[in-house]
Symmetry: C2
Subunit: 324 residues, 2 copies
DNA sequence: GTGAAAGCGCTAACAC
DNA sequence: GTGTTAGCGCTTTCAC
């Protein structure tokens, strides 16, 4: 104990934690003793003693950090939290509901101050008890089901509808749509928005060209190739997220009839401007910042009803949908 | 306390922590009482009592998660750690040494089990005392200075040399090089490797076309435009990381004389294959996995001398350096 | 300005 | 199988 080098127990605490009420000289003595011993305050013990809500940890549960959507979300979230003295602890679920459950438990056991979750679960009723006693939740990207909680979502339906309309305006009628895991609400919303525009245009059989569950780049590439091999082939493709768009670009690059196929993707791409890919863009960092702000206001004592923020998307027109 | 609902104190602990030696019936009773009360074990308290090294947290300090290099590193690291029951806590330094110091302290106060750091500091001697008593460090991407510690690095020099050689083989003599913050060792190594190849080819004045400190995409774009405006302009450009390459692609796309300029970049790009950008590629996830393994072996009691893993890079030839 | 004692929630050690 | 006691490292009282 650093106390040995100085002359006390509690005084050391006062000196090192900057509580004040310590003689300047004493403080200096304790400080140097601590440095020498390589001693460091134990924040864990402090938080335990202080009781209640003193942890400075906020958990993030998301699919996979290697996906730029999640990593940009995490980046925006972390920056905003850090400005308020909070730290981010991340856990990847790989879109596996079972893991998500386990990781949620683990974070709650750690008494995180709050939880931000891009959930892959079908249902969140089991968290109701938790929410009453425990830390606030903020859902991002996908809304809570059977649970009232704050959420920051995208205008998936509107964005997808706009994508379809854009293609329809360009004269396309046979439009392929390649989607992610069909159980995800984001996927369903995007398909719905697409359907709305297609049906409004009198195209009832759009499902002919619907391919789902293309969860990674490889699957997406194969799905798009399969679509292009149809007879008649679609003249345009809508891909419902960044990875699927990547797969589609790989497929289209392979030539064949693909070169002429129009493409529009949901989510901005890192090099979307250079590649000239038309996209439905939005701002993942902004989503993270919003989530942080909602959480912070709850930590600040806001007991109001659950809030739902819906972030807009915008069409960024580039060459993959330019008139041929 | 859940003990009230059941009939004990320690027994509850035994039941909930799965220690065993509890009657099946008792266990069930405690369990359901806990569920009702929304009670949850406090892992923080447990770790405190257990003392020593029982935390399951591993810290990662890196530049910015929004950069795919770091997020892929984090992803690889997290996956490997998770398989061994460890969780990742991330902190972004934004390449600010002062923040890195503060964040390091904060993680150590939290008694993380180990620390993985892509350091932006010039010097790490101050961590020597820490290392003796505390948790192991693993340096990634950039080596420790004045400190002996495990490290996972890239073959920066070799990769950059290969890049220059590739351009020289294609007949280029005036080759621009645009680099990141000049104080970073990765930058310096890459410039050195480049210089080696250039000087071996008898090009002594390569520094004429060296531009440094292009730390973000915008700065890189402007740097490349400035380079192209020179007279005589370089016929090829080597960009020393992913963001700079992105900036360069934006600059080259703007036409002018740029269209003909050859380009090779360090780091793979998300859509590098689709865009046809020649790169010096490597595997950030693999770097994360290696770091995790080094850390795990230290936690496992390995007291051997510090190890240094150098990961290879490879040239991926695509159209931006194809003969015109 | 400083110290002594008690206790945060848990578990190791030793009872019973 | 279960309960008791003590103590992890800190901070909160309340003294001095």
């Amino acid at each position: 104990m650093a106390a040995l080098s100085g002359v006390s127990v509690k005084t050391a605490s006062r000196a090192l934690s900057g509580e004040g009420y310590v003689a300047v000289e004493t403080k200096a003595r304790v400080q140097s003793a601590a440095d020498e011993l390589g001693y460091r305050l134990n924040r864990t013990a402090r938080e335990l003693r202080r009781g209640g809500n003193t942890s400075t940890l906020v958990g993030l549960l998301s699919g996979d950090l290697a996906n730029p959507f999640y990593s940009r979300l995490a980046s925006g979230l972390e920056r905003e939290l850090r400005m308020h003295g909070l730290q981010l602890i991340t856990a990847s679920t790989d879109e596996n509901p079972e893991w998500e459950g386990r990781l949620t438990d683990s974070l709650l056991e750690r008494r995180v101050r709050g939880l931000v979750v891009a959930s892959t679960m079908a249902e969140h009723g089991h968290l109701a008890a938790e929410r009453r006693h425990g830390s606030p939740f903020v859902f991002v990207d996908r809304p809570p089901v059977n649970l009232t909680a704050d959420a920051v979502l995208l205008d998936n339906r509107g964005g997808a509808k706009r994508a379809a309309e854009h293609l329809l305006e360009r004269g396309h009628r046979r439009i392929g749509i390649v989607g992610d895991l069909s159980r995800l609400s984001t996927h369903q919303d995007r398909v719905e928005g697409f359907a709305e525009a297609m049906e409004a245009a009198g195209i009832a059989d759009w499902r002919e060209y619907l391919l789902e569950d293309a969860h990674d780049v490889d699957k997406a590439e194969r799905a798009v190739l399969a679509l292009l091999a149809r007879d008649p082939a679609p003249t345009a493709v809508f891909t419902t997220n960044n990875r699927i768009t990547t797969g589609a670009l790989r497929a289209l690059r392979q030539g064949g009839g693909g070169r002429d196929t129009a493409l529009i993707g949901f989510d901005e791409l890192d090099l979307g401007d250079v590649l000239g890919v038309t996209v439905i863009a939005h701002d993942p960092e902004e989503m993270g910042r919003h989530a942080a702000r909602l959480l912070l206001s709850r930590l600040d004592g806001d007991e109001g009803p659950a809030r739902r923020v819906v972030l807009p998307t915008r069409l960024v027109e580039r060459s993959t949908t330019a008139p041929r």
